[in-house]
């Protein structure tokens, strides 16, 4: 057994040792050293947690500002953004029915025929890259990071023919499969608001899919997540990773596990 502490005593409640925990807080974002009010969390710490939850919930339920996002996406010079709505009529249905968030409200006809192996050559009129911006579970993430990420990414992939961007509301990642198939795009990039955590309500995820079509399994995608400067991944780094994934996908003719397991395919 280890030695006893010197004179353990019950101290007045709610009196943490500020200096002690202050030195440790830089090591973790966890809510350590909260102190005690009896056996419970002191008032100020309780209010902080509830405030963080409120911010996260507001992010989940916030509506995408379609007008502002359309204007911002138009500024990328890729052509007029195309609006798209999922089959989920409202946010509550959207949260309970992920299947509806993966389906367009009105069917999008696939390009005819969907290329079985969308090799880049000899594909007149077919884009190399479709871009779909979707609210997912955080419109806030889309408002803050979608356009800056694309601004960082596009100069890194000048060789790609990029279709006008799509802006999808009440939409999950797999919505991009309908768009990619509709356009006959070789690759589809979906930028989507990730599920908010208490300390991260504006985290953007980027999913790249080769030859996307409805029913594509998640294992066939590559994901760059936690795009959320200054706390998470910054736009330039995320853009470089995506550009390198696109290069690898073009070389391999695939995304997903095959690409992830082949670091040599990445530049």
């Amino acid at each position: 057994m280890t030695e006893q502490t010197d004179q353990p005593t019950d101290r007045p409640s709610g009196q943490p040792s500020p200096d002690f925990w202050a030195a440790l807080r830089p090591t973790t974002t966890a809510r350590v050293g909260l102190g005690r009010a009896g056996d419970s969390v002191p008032t100020r710490r309780l209010l902080e947690l509830q405030a963080a939850h409120a911010v996260a919930r507001d992010a989940v339920h916030a509506s995408l500002d379609v007008e502002a996002m359309t204007a911002a996406l138009a500024g990328l010079g890729l052509g007029d953004p195309v609006p798209l709505t999922s089959a989920a009529p409202d946010r509550a249905t959207y949260l309970a029915r992920p299947d509806l968030g993966r389906t367009p409200a009105a069917p999008l006809s696939p390009a005819d025929p969907i290329p079985a192996d969308p090799i880049l050559a000899d594909r007149p009129g077919r884009p190399d890259l479709a871009v779909v911006v979707a609210d997912g579970l955080s419109a806030l993430a889309v408002h803050r990071h979608a356009v800056p990420l694309l601004e960082a990414l596009l100069p890194l992939v000048p060789q790609l023919e990029v279709a006008p961007p799509w802006l999808a509301v009440q939409a999950r990642v797999a919505m991009g499969d309908h768009v990619g198939a509709h356009l006959g795009a070789a690759m589809t990039l979906v930028l989507v608001g990730e599920r908010p955590g208490l300390s991260s309500s504006d985290s953007l995820g980027a999913y790249l899919t080769w030859g996307a079509r409805p029913g594509t399994p998640d294992s066939a995608r590559n994901c760059v997540s936690n795009i959320r400067p200054p706390h998470g991944l910054d736009h330039a780094t995320a853009a470089r990773t995506l550009a390198s994934l696109m290069e690898g996908a073009r070389r391999l003719g695939a995304t997903g596990v095959r690409l992830k397991d082949r670091p040599d395919a990445l530049t």
Binding site: P8, R11, F20, A30, R31, V32, V41, P196
Partner: protein
């Protein structure tokens, strides 16, 4: 077989046990998503009437998931103990509810229920739970006693244990150590100190495993550590001589869903044998740690049963317990609110599911813990968690999760906190596992009556843990 029930001037028909179980289940979003829940309250009430009249022997003949195509079904049927089943063989599902509630108030309840467990198929337990109110689930859950041991003894009367969960977004050792210290100072960690690593790489897992083992050795803490990584990684780590106490794996109630987790029954058996061989426990030999949760089969699109019909998520969850009990686990944890509102929409559904899972697991003989938790896109908050935590404390839950300030900064969800554990122990007169409580007292963190003292960390020897 078709089941019929007249109610409120209508006749309802149910096409087989799978259909009947789904329609009889308390409302939840996952069953709606799967298309197996009741269409109306009256249909649900009718299904419960019909289910109450189903003989238990029917479950031996009419399989919810075909054993021909599902190895979980085969395992469950192979291990069914007909001697234990004999006393209830002639009962219906409704009579089983009455029987359980009668036994639960008898003086030898714990012994009777423990003998009964091996005679029950998970599907029978799921069925009877659908006829039970929350208070019934609490009554029978509290009457069950399941005791397991490794370096601490869990499940003893009057005890409630915690998993100290010091997760960190980048697996930073200093950050993990800070959370471990915070938890120990608040009396948490007697079930396990268990980390969900952000990275599954063997190097990271090894580093975290050694960190926890060094802390445990240095302070002679009677507890066990675990880094919750895939079973195949843990098998490799055991072969490499790393300090593995418990083998962790997520499991589900169908072969297809387990495929989705990348795990087979053979791998579980291999890991079980390997960890038994290590023999690192001091007061017991149970060393498997399983996590489950309603909706995992549906999320893997592996929730279909006989006739290709979708099986309700609560019945599939009970089947996961049927799989777990084949490996004599030290801990089983249902991560009840983690999966999101498409499976459990709000606080009411999460509370109900937590009580169901605890009841089903305990009756099937498992040391059930519950991760009382919610995500930010569910209609739930900390008040709902207080309700479920309190109910589970009353129901004799073996352990709960404890994270700093209820906020898991790696997994991005809210669970229960170190403080929450202090609360529920205090109001219900519960104490940590005896070995761990004695250690807490020895290092000056607990009073003789088990109360956790509010000590100044800068004056505790444990503070060296973060240096």
């Amino acid at each position: 077989m078709r089941y019929r029930q007249a109610l409120a001037g209508r006749t309802f028909e149910f096409d087989g046990l799978v259909d009947l179980l789904g329609r009889a289940s308390p409302a939840r979003s996952g069953d709606r998503l799967a298309g197996c829940g009741a269409q109306s309250d009256v249909e649900r009430a009718a299904a419960r009437h019909a289910l109450a009249d189903v003989p238990l022997t029917r479950f031996l003949d009419e399989h919810v998931v075909p054993p021909e195509t599902d190895d979980v079904s085969r395992l469950i049927l192979d291990r069914h103990d007909t001697d234990a089943f004999a006393p209830i063989r002639s009962m219906t599902v409704g009579e089983l509810r009455d029987h359980l509630l009668t036994v639960a108030v008898a003086p030898d309840a714990a012994t009777t229920l423990a003998r009964l467990g091996p005679g029950l198929l998970p599907e029978m337990v799921a069925a009877v739970s659908k006829l039970m109110r929350n208070q019934d689930l609490v009554t029978v859950g509290a009457a069950c006693r399941v005791t397991t041991a490794f370096r601490t003894t869990l499940g003893l009367p009057g005890r409630l244990s915690t998993r100290l969960q010091p997760n960190h977004p980048t697996d930073d050792p200093a950050g993990v150590a800070t959370s471990v210290l915070d938890g120990l100072l608040l009396g948490s960690g007697d079930a396990v100190i268990g980390i969900n690593p952000a990275s599954d790489s063997p190097e990271t897992v090894t580093r975290l495993l050694r960190l926890l083992d060094e802390v445990r050795e240095r302070y002679e803490i009677p507890t066990q550590s675990c880094v919750l990584t895939h079973v195949t990684t843990t098998i490799d780590l055991m072969e490499a001589g790393e300090p593995v106490d418990l083998v962790f794996q997520s499991i589900a109630g169908t072969q297809g869903a387990n495929n989705g987790f990348g795990v087979t029954i053979a791998q579980l058996a291999e890991a079980h044998a390997a960890v038994q061989e290590l023999g690192r426990g001091t007061v017991g030999t149970q060393a498997m740690y399983f996590e489950t949760g309603q909706g995992s089969a549906l999320s893997a699109d592996a929730h279909h049963g006989t006739g290709g019909r979708p099986v309700d998520q609560q019945t599939l969850e009970a089947r996961a317990y049927g799989l777990a009990r084949a490996f004599d686990p030290f801990l089983v944890n249902t991560v009840v609110g983690f999966i999101g509102p498409e499976y459990l929409y709000d606080g009411k559904q999460i509370v109900r599911a937590g009580l169901e899972d605890h009841f089903c697991g305990k009756l099937l003989g498992l040391p059930m813990g519950v991760d009382v938790c919610y995500t930010n896109h569910a209609e739930a908050d900390d008040d709902d968690m207080d309700t479920l935590l309190t109910l589970l404390g009353v129901a004799g839950c073996t352990f709960v999760i404890a994270v700093p300030g209820a906020d898991d900064v790696m997994l991005g969800y809210q669970s229960t906190s170190f403080h929450d554990a202090l609360y529920v122990r205090r109001v219900l007169g519960k104490r940590p596992a005896p070995e761990f409580e004695a250690w807490l007292q020895g290092v000056g963190l607990a009073a003789p009556d088990g109360r956790i003292l509010d000590v100044d960390p800068s004056r505790s020897l444990l503070k060296e843990l973060v240096r």
